[in-house]
């Protein structure tokens, strides 16, 4: 695939995600009011406890977000949520575990594009995926955060994204990201495709390690996201954001949208991280009342004023993004298609 073709492709494939994300942010009231707590879907459902299958490990972003909403979700659900950590294999382990549930007893929490991307990567590599998007029934999205680019606070070689791009043309610049094939790497690949920028991508074992490497001076730039890099907001400077508008100027030095600064038309959607909850599609189909109950409880918890006040206290309310199950499905589908076509780019930029 030539460079020109790739650029065109990025514009085209991202559009689907962008449209659906936007639609999700604007609309999405498909329920019929709150349930108020407890009460099942026509049978003895829910039991006293359901399992929350976390696709990531203890103490990570999905875990923290789950702990924040857990009490409210349980209240509307009328059942306890017992967390089970099924980290690993690029969220495949957790997704497979939830997909095999037959009775809506497991609720999964994971990230897009990671989970749909795993299916795409397996298909491209010729590995039989253990689940498809048809096996997962989203409940909706919990949160979303745009990709950003951070440099150290005392960095004087480049203080704007334009200066970084220019500097990288003649100098070696290393960019760290959490993992070799994640959305933050994708955001850097997009930048290299859209400009003359030339970076060395250094994949780390998680976001914390990437940030440490940035502050230590091991790498020059960190490809991160708005909220998951908030802990180094005071020690670093954000050069740009991959979003039409900056939702958190306080956490990101009021960084401008990258396209506004560079005059590019990078599509923001593929690098936008969305946390979503889901159940087994087969179970949801077999027990539509149960699915409706769980979905409504999630939506009610998401809208709960006390929950939002809790987040507001720690300046994190801005991360909440609601998308209905159908809209979430469209986001996942788009992410899957995007990653199927992005595979050659990872091969070129990361594996070579």
């Amino acid at each position: 695939m030539t460079g020109t073709n790739r650029r065109q492709f990025i514009k085209l494939t991202g559009a689907g995600i962008g449209a659906s994300t936007l639609a999700g942010c604007l609309g999405g009231d498909d329920g019929d009011g709150g349930n108020g707590g407890g009460g099942g879907g026509g049978d003895d459902y829910p039991p006293s406890s359901l399992t929350f299958v976390n696709a990531y490990s203890e103490g990570g972003g999905v875990d923290t977000n789950f702990r924040q909403i857990q009490g409210y979700f349980e209240e509307y659900l009328g059942a306890n949520l017992s967390p089970e950590y099924r980290a690993g294999a690029g969220t495949r382990t957790a997704a497979t575990t939830v997909a095999q549930d037959e009775e809506v007893m497991r609720i999964g929490g994971t990230l897009s594009p990671a989970t749909p991307a795993a299916i795409a990567v397996d298909e491209v590599e010729g590995t039989e995926p253990q689940y498809t998007l048809d096996d997962l029934q989203p409940l909706g999205t919990l949160s979303g955060e745009a990709a950003i680019i951070r440099v150290r606070e005392d960095e004087d070689r480049f203080t704007t994204i334009q200066e970084l791009v220019d500097y990288s043309v003649d100098n070696s610049v290393t960019v760290g990201a959490s993992g070799p094939t994640n959305r933050n790497v994708l955001s850097i690949i997009q930048l290299m495709e859209a400009t003359e920028a030339d970076f060395t991508i250094v994949p780390y074992d998680g976001g914390g390690a990437t940030q440490t490497a940035l502050l230590q001076g091991e790498i020059d730039v960190a490809a991160r996201s708005v909220y998951n890099s908030a802990s180094i907001a005071e020690d670093s400077h954000c050069l740009c954001i991959y979003a039409e508008e900056n939702p958190e100027p306080g956490l990101t030095n009021d960084a401008p949208p990258i396209n506004d600064e560079l005059g590019t038309d990078i599509n923001y959607a593929p690098s936008n991280g969305t946390q979503f909850y889901y159940v087994s599609a087969a179970a949801a189909e077999a027990y539509p009342d149960r699915f409706e109950h769980v979905q409504q409880a999630f939506k009610d918890a998401h809208e709960d004023e006390d929950y939002r006040a809790d987040l507001s206290e720690i300046d994190e309310e801005g991360k909440l993004v609601w998308n209905s199950p159908e809209e979430t499905d469209a986001i996942l589908q788009s992410a899957y298609e995007t990653y199927r076509d992005f595979a050659p780019l990872f091969d070129e930029y990361v594996q070579s």
């Binding site: 406890s49 399992t51 017992s82 089970e84 594996q351 070579s352």
Partner: protein, 172 residues
């Protein structure tokens, strides 16, 4: 590292065949080399060679080291004269380690049964099985210790820690 009754009993046994002893002594490095061969077969040509330098370096050193161990072990066996045939040696080893082998079979059955019949039922069966293999025959002790362990596991893991081990058709 560990002295066992089995080892003590082994001192009075006839010497096993050289091939059987060699096979057992070389089992570990042979397993390592087999893994190395599988690794190369699975990755060579599929992944760029420049991304395989480190694992192939490990394999190269392992191969050299394994050869030196083979040489040492085989030199050690040069003066060894076995009294039993290969088949007799295997039979003799099975006799020496009969309880350990019985334990292994119960453990394999146990792990295999956990998902289809549920953790607690499988554990109860396995505990009884291992106690029988270990030579315990009194039903009272077998019952009491099985129940104590099952109750402990249930309270500690399921009730306090909220763990959900696989449950079978009976929900146990």
């Amino acid at each position: 590292m560990t002295s066992t009754e089995a080892e003590e009993g082994a001192t009075n046994r006839p010497a096993r065949s050289t091939s059987a002893v060699a096979l057992f002594r070389l089992a570990f490095p042979l397993a390592g080399l087999l893994l190395a061969v599988l690794y190369v077969e699975n990755t060579y040509g599929r992944i760029r060679l420049e991304n395989l330098y480190y694992p192939y370096f490990v394999i190269g050193v392992l191969a050299v080291l394994s050869l030196t161990v083979f040489a040492t072990e085989l030199r050690g066996l040069a003066d060894y004269s076995g009294e039993l045939s290969f088949v007799e040696s295997v039979r003799d080893a099975l006799g020496e380690w009969n309880r350990s082998i019985g334990f292994s079979l119960v453990a394999i059955g146990y792990i295999w049964l956990i998902e289809p019949i549920g953790f607690f039922i499988a554990t109860a069966i396995a505990m009884v099985g291992v106690m029988l293999v270990g030579g315990r025959r009194d039903p009272l002790w077998i019952s009491i210790s099985t129940v104590i362990i099952l109750v402990f596991v249930y309270v500690m893991f399921v009730q306090i820690m909220g763990l959900r081990p696989p449950s079978g058709p009976l929900g146990l």
